[in-house]
Each structure stands twice: as structure tokens, then as C-alpha cells.
Symmetry: C2
Amino acid sequence: MTDSTLTNNEEITNGSVSIIPLGGLGEFGLNMMVYETENDLIVIDTGFMLPNADMPGVDLIFPDIHYLIERKEKIRGILLTHGHEDHIGALAYILRQLDVPVYGTQLTLAIASGRLREYGVFGKARLNTIAPGDTVELGAFSAEFIHVTHSIPDSVAIALRTPIGIIVHTGDFKFDMTPVDGKLSDLQTLARLGSEGVLMLVSDSTNAERPGQTPSERSIYDTIDHIFQRTEQKLFLCTFSSSLHRVQQFIDLANIHRRLIAVSGRSLLNNVRTASDLGYLHVNPDYLIDARDAAMFKSHEVMILSTGSQGEPRSALSLMALDSHPFLKVEPGDTVVISARIIPGNEKAIGNVVNHLLRRGAKIYHERNADVHVSGHGSSEDLKLMMNLLQPKFFMPMHGEYQNLVRHAELAESVGIPTENITVAEDGELIHLTPDTCEVFGREGRSGRVLVDGKPEIELEDIVLRDRIQLSEDGIVIPIIVLHSDTGDSSQQDSDQPSAVGFDQQDGVISREDLLPENQQPTETDSHSKTGLNAGEIEIISRGFVYMDKSEELIEEAKEITRRVIENLSDEQKHETETVQDEVRSALRRFFSKQMQRTPLIFPVVMRV
Amino acid sequence: MTDSTLTNNEEITNGSVSIIPLGGLGEFGLNMMVYETENDLIVIDTGFMLPNADMPGVDLIFPDIHYLIERKEKIRGILLTHGHEDHIGALAYILRQLDVPVYGTQLTLAIASGRLREYGVFGKARLNTIAPGDTVELGAFSAEFIHVTHSIPDSVAIALRTPIGIIVHTGDFKFDMTPVDGKLSDLQTLARLGSEGVLMLVSDSTNAERPGQTPSERSIYDTIDHIFQRTEQKLFLCTFSSSLHRVQQFIDLANIHRRLIAVSGRSLLNNVRTASDLGYLHVNPDYLIDARDAAMFKSHEVMILSTGSQGEPRSALSLMALDSHPFLKVEPGDTVVISARIIPGNEKAIGNVVNHLLRRGAKIYHERNADVHVSGHGSSEDLKLMMNLLQPKFFMPMHGEYQNLVRHAELAESVGIPTENITVAEDGELIHLTPDTCEVFGREGRSGRVLVDGKPEIELEDIVLRDRIQLSEDGIVIPIIVLHSDTGDSSQQDSDQPSAVGFDQQDGVISREDLLPENQQPTETDSHSKTGLNAGEIEIISRGFVYMDKSEELIEEAKEITRRVIENLSDEQKHETETVQDEVRSALRRFFSKQMQRTPLIFPVVMRV
């Protein structure tokens, strides 16, 4: 890894720019791009990613920023395109490790500040508010911010003037011809840059696989209006907390249909407050009620705005679906609108929520049965329009899984960008751009992902995650072997030694009750309560493998096998803990695999007394 | 549960029929329905289900058949509608426990027989081949088999004549007006039954949420033909092993385009062999080659038929995507067609396979970017046609999640079936049908699911699954507390006792190396190899919690906390193993939660020496 880094530094001259995607190329989320010249480096976006089901216990994923830490003297700034978590969610994590100035629009910085405060880095953060149209000088780079429409207000694309030409980094965008806030994508500036000459376009691939044009955010208004008209009881509208254009339309319709607005969910409440303070959201405070008071009003007078559109287990919507929300209740005749994309991987969770809401007698609308959602990302024709406005020499797709990037590259070919000028790169690759060439130069070894479990600063090692996955497949078996330090032998002691206090010879297997977590403990002290282990014994305990109470025979047999393994060891071998462990492990592995076709983790503990 | 069972038996008279869904109402898969009169009981379909990602280590799910076992004397037969695993996959499991006659069409029984042989129950199975149009007398029931079109040939609906009227159970169906094998759904018989008068329709809800009509299976032919024309290298066609109409079309096109056919995947090979032996599939053996020989032919002369359309990790397609298939290789210029539904929950896995195939330079077609798949299940208009042909008095939707059942009920209302005559029931409910009423009568407590892990006969207890999920979230921590049986105290011994043989005092934490599974063991014997536990010590070991090598401080602190907990116990408490465990567990739980915001399973082992 050091090699490629050195090579890169040597190669960067005033005649070239290096581009290093640290996230977002080959996945959705984690968006982070580095642009670098000989002496200067800027970062665009600092996103996080939420884990998949195959990462048990992982709370968040951040990009690995070793590449930045190693070059911290060169970093001239972090530029943010908009306030979505997949673009700003890692900012606090990064500012804890790097002291660099941050540039973003007013709303973007306001939303980012929430988490900076939470992480205790708000005080020292150097936040610089820019407005669309502004230009900022950052060493060899000059960054011009260009307004684009997206599902959150105050989004920008960035035109980077570099010593070798202009690079346009789109951020997330669509071309909404009738935006809710009236602010169009800045077609004029994009076209002007196209006339001036763009060396490279780096563009959002999220919807590259969708044909046609993404409809305007306004296109859902009529559908939601009809739902308001048809709903006679409570109306629940569920969307992402950052979809503020969506929220504006819901609020407008609530006013028209004379419903009071209860907002549920901390992130949604924060965003509504922030955006209305800054003038990005227009809401009459007289219509807002506390969600705790919703039950005090008549059903047809209330609209509840809530999060939980992805079936997140602890969200308000999931709790309501299971009728375990502390104060909100879904009842027959109510309507629930899930006005959000069903993100791949979340289908099962969302489906479960929908099934439960239906069991409560609610009417449900979601993107698969009604036009209650439109994307904030441009489709094929929007992406082509961006290319045709800018007419770039080189093109690189970003933001998406590999299949989206490939599809976006095909679109670029279709508008006439030569195949050899299109670069499909992935995270951690080093793209070397000159006025005449754009090539993948190698891999930056230090890129990757940081898995976080628990407190934000606690990284989860890959090996621990692997253990968890293995534990979840077949559980864990722990043979405890007590050897006598003089002979290293356990078996011969069985009859000679007196039973230890508190140990019941009849009760060879540690009883399940002893091993239950406290909330499952039987309240009565039972006959097993004195169980312990004495010298000269072999015990086998397990979790997630078999139900111990029903598997005594199997466990007795496993103990017998362990006993025999140890008997067959030489005295010398018995003194080598590792040898004892190895022999026991492989014997039990064979046994369980043959008997059960299961392969639990086997984790022998050797004790010497 | 015994209560409702008794009630049910008491209530069944000659004037009524009980219907008990043992699977498939409230989920996809596991299809199994019981129809029961006073003295007779029949079962339609015996399906299994594949587990979700939230059931780690589970291989298969079978319906719980206690209800049948308790009534085995009454069972007159198991009737199979078609040869898909979600309808026949549990047959072997059931026939191991119940000796009852089975009725199905020739192809259905031929496919089922494979698994019966595997389970060793083929010899004793009483299989009765029926043909569409046949009627079988089964006690109070008379079953007429009616041909319907579906994605597998030889599918039937079943009209049950009962003492109180006709019940039609559709099985899976669509109304394909141009079926590949030329065999239409038997509209005439359905219409005749409608004229005669149908008491109840029980119908497939899989596609109830899709508007319009499901296109004919033939509709994909032209798309696939175009793909054949455009492909200059190898062509991989990937579908379910049971989609034999699909396979027939692929074979026909391979003949036209002069490509040899290599079949990869055991289940696909078996089905192709069985179906062509029985005349359901027409394939010229001269065109078949062994998949191992595919590389011997020119790329443009070969078509590879394969399974793995759902991104199953060990399937041929997944192995090819990772370039680790023993003899099949995807190369630049090859085309891969995934001609199957993307089943919800599998999007991520399929997406990964697609991304990897694209990285190998292949062109990929799937249902989201080309018309390469049509469903075998009728959409809204097909479902309405079924209702209008039969004009049933009562209606019950089956096969689907709750949302699909509810949508199907809405469709029934839309064709004029009175709301009060429509029953949306779920697994384990008891539906009581008389000539005038259809009501959910209660729950049959013994219904449910049997999770299988490992050998087919090994059931997995729910509690073990819960443990696995908890283990996967935050791992397991095992404090080992060695108490002296005389005092029950560990701490006072620390300095007095001589160190046990093979134990190094400096090395309090059991080293990670000792605890690695054998394939991760360092090969050299290192300084830790003599590690063991001596009397009077506290040790903490863990898996899937933290990386022990980097967490010595945390573990030392946890040991110190454990030591203090034990010091603070009275002598009496120290003799109660359960108390020691409880106190240690709750102290460590607080500690880890505060320090790490993690909640591992804590599993104290108390030993007395």
C-alpha cells in the first residue's frame, strides 16, 4: 500500500490531478471523493452507510480515512453537496481526527451541525457557509457551487477549476422542472461551463438504470391530495426526515384539509425545526401539535408525520404496527402512506410493517400500489441532459453499485463520449487525470470501511464480525477441561477426588437455567443452583447450538469423546494446552458434523489445578 | 390449544367442513391446507419454505404437522397440485411420520420422488398418479383434478365435492392463452362447476397486487431470441430448475441458433432428465453436452443452462461470478440472462452476483432491464376471471403475505362477492364452513413452523435461534471464576497460592491464539502455548465481542470488576453458584453497556476446586 501511495505522490505534477474515491463507487452510501494536486487536496462529501443484514450488530459504516490522515497538511477543505447522511454522516467522525475547514450551504451545515454537537466537535469545527453561485479558492483548486434540484433543498453541484481544466462533480441531482421551492437546477451555469469546456464530469449514477426522466417532486401532490380526501380517520404520512420538499407538500395539504400536524421522530422534528427557522420550510406554528397530544383530537382532524419508512425496528411506524407505541395508535379506518423508496434489502422489513398495519385495519399506500413517491435522482434522460449541457471530454460515474456505474457509462457512450474517455472506477482506486488522458493508475491500499458498533468511536474489527457470523450460523460449544497440574490428567481423578462443595455429581451438564441471561432466569432457586465445576471434570456448555435440556445424550457423548481424547494423549502432550485444545476441538468437530451436520465454534478451555 | 381442537371436533358435523391452513396464509411458501369433515380429512399440498436472513443457520422450514399426527386415522390422502418445492418440499418429512396415500399428476410425483428417495421413504410411499379430469373418492370428499397453466407443466386445481357443496382449491395458476405446451387451463370444467354452483373458492394470491393480466409464458421468446442473435460468445441462461416451459423455450432457441446445450446444477439436470423421459420436455440428446466439456467447444457454439438465479452463494452462477467455478468461466463478451423473479429478500445477493459478473466483462439481462421473465401466477384480472368462472358463494384467499391476501379480498369485493362472505384467514386458524356461513372459529394452537438445521430430521428450537441472533449482535463473554470450595473466595488466594504448572502469571488474559479455531491457529508454538487457568483466578474469554489482542485494558478492568463483585459477596452467597453468576453478570453488563454500548451475552462459569 505504501508503494502505490509513493508512486502517486511522485506522479502528481502540475500537469495532472489525482482522483481517489474513498466511498460510493461500488456501493450506495459512504460517498466521499478526493481531488488532489501536487500540493493541495480537497474532499467532496463525507457520507456514512448503514449496514446490511450480513453485518450483525454493526450500527454504522464510515469510510476509512487513513489516506486523508497521511496527507493532512495538504487538505484545503471538505466540500459538502447537500445534507443527506450518505453525504454528511461521517463529518463528525472525520473532524474528530482532522482539523480542516468545511464548506456547505446554509441548510446543509445546519443539518450537519446537529451531529457535530452530538459528537462534541461543533465548537472547534470551522464551518463556512456558501451560497449557490459562490466561488471558493482552495490552493490549486477553485470551487464554484451550482444549485441543483434534489429531494432536500439547498443542494449543489461543484465545478472545480484545476490547473489542467474544469472538473464538474454533480453530487445528487435531478432536473425538476417544477420544483416545490421554485428553485431550478442552474441550467445556465451548467451550459456556460459546457461552452467554456469541461475536462471531466463525475456524475450521480443512482438511477442510471431507470429509463426516461424522473418526474417532478410535485407529481405526487395530486395522489396525496386524493388520499387526504378519502381518509376519514387519522392520516399517517411517513417519509425520510430529510425529504423536506415532501414534508412541505404534506404540510400544505394538511392546511387545505384542515388537519393538525403532529410530528413524530427526533430527526424529523429537528429537521422541521431547523428548516423552518432558516426559511426552507413554511409551516404555520398554529397547526403544529405535540404528537403526545394527538389522541386528544378527533381522528379526522389529525395528520401524523413520521419516520420509519424502511421498517426500522425501533421507529415510530414499526412500533405502531405492533401496537406498542407509547402514545400513537393505528386503528381501523386510519390510512398510512409510506412515501419513500423501498430501499433494496429492506423489502422484508417494510413488508412486515405493512402486514401488521393491515392487521390493525389500516389502509396502506406505498410506492408499489400508488404514486406516492418520486425519486430525487435523475433517470437516464436527466443524466444525458447533464452530459449534453457540460459536454465533458472525460467521464466517470459515481454513486452506485457496480451495475449502476456500468449502466451510466453506457449512457455516456450513447451521447457520444468515446469509450476510452470513460472510466468505471471503484472505491480505493487512483484515477490519474491529465489534459489528454484519464486512467486508473492503481489501488490506494488504505481505503476501505470502518465498522462501528456501540459508541461512535468504537471500531469493530473484521475478525470480530466474522466470529459473529460464525456464531450465528451454528452457535458456540465450550468444553471445559480441568487437568491436574501434576499429571495433566483429568480422567483418573474422577473417582478418587471428593466432590467439590456446591457441585452435584448427578448433574454433570451445567443446567440451562444457570446459563440464562438474567431476564430469563427462573425466579425460584432450584436444584441446579449449587452447580459448579470441580477438579478432574470435563464440562460442555453451549449457546445457539442445541437446546441443552433436550440434548443430554449428545452432550454426554461429546464429554465421553473429550475424555477419551485426553486419555490418549501422552503426559507430555497433556502439558501443552494448545495440543489439548487442538485435539479436543478436532474430535468434537468431527462428532458434531457427523451427528448433526452442524459446525459450531468449538472453544476448549483448559484449566489446571 | 387442546381446547380449540376439541371444540373443533365437536363442531364438525355432516353439515359443515373445517378448513385449516397449516401454511401459506401469511407467508410465501410452506403451502399446506387441511379440509376436514366429521370422519375424513384431506391435505392439499405439503410445501416447505426457505429461511430469511433473520434465521441464521436455518436450512429449511417445514410446517408443524401435529394437527395431522393427532388425526392420522382420519386422513384419506395428500393431494398435490404441482411439483414446486413450496407445494411438495415437505412431503418426505411428512411421509416419515404419516403413512397416507398421495395423489398427484405424473410429473408432480416424478419430481417429488427424487426427495422421497433421498429421505429413504420412497419404498413405502403410496403414490397414486392421477391425470387432469380424473376424480378420486376420499371418504366424504370427492376430488376432481382440473388442468391449469403455471410455470411448471402438469399443474392442477382441485374441485372438492363435500357433503355441503363444492370447494375449489386453485393451487398456483395463471390463464396462459398460448401455453408453451399447448395445454390450456381447463376453462370449460371451471365454467361447468360455476354453473353447477360453487360453495367456496380458495385461490392463489401471489400476484393479487399486480394490475392487469399476467403475460403468456411465450411472451419472453422474442426477447431471448434477440439476446441469442446479439451474443457472440458464450450464453448463460439462468432460471429455476422447475421452470420447464422456460427451459423448453431455451432449448428450442439453442437448436435454432445452433448452440450446444450444457446443463449445470444437479436439480436442473434431474428435472430435465425426468421431464424429457416423461415427454414433458422435448430435447434432442445430440445437442446436449456435459457441462465439464463446455470449454472444449467454441464460445459461440455453447449455451449453458444453469440455476442460481437468486444469488445462492454455492450455486453455479455465484461461483462463476467469483471466478471460482471448477470448470465454467464467464469471460468478456459472454452474456448472462437471469430469467427469474427477483424474490424479495434476495435483491442484495442477486445484486452482488450481477456486480461481479459485470466486473468479468459480461453483458447481463434480468427482469429489471429486459423482458426476460414472466410470472407463473395470475394477476388481478386473471384472479377475477377465476372468480367469475366459478361464481363462488364464499371466498378465501391463500398463498401470500397478509398484504396479498387483503388485496385479493378487495378484488373479490370488486367482482361482487359480499364482504361478509370473504374470509381473510391466517395460518393456524380454524375456518368453519356451512352451506350458509363461513367463519373463523378460533386458532389451532399446534400449527406453526419447524426450523431445520443440519440433518433433515434435526429440529431447531426457537430458543436456540434466539441465542444465535443475540450472539450475532454483540457476541459472547464468558467470565470463568474459580472459587475455593473451602471459603468460596478467589481473591485472597492470588498471592498466596503457587502458580499452577503451565500457567504464566504475566499472562492473565487467555491469549487469542489459544482460542482461534484450528484453521486460524498459528503454526509455531509460541509463548502463550502453556497458558491455562490455575485455582484462585478470574479469566474472561469472549468471541464476537471485541478483538481481545487490542482490548487488554478493557478485559483487565472487567476482571477487576468481577473480582470486586465476588469480594463483596458474603460467604454464604459465595456458595450459591447462581448468586455468583447473577451478580457477575449484572455488573459486567452495566460495565460493557456504559463503556462500549454493547450488550453481549454474558455467561459466567463458576468452578470450585
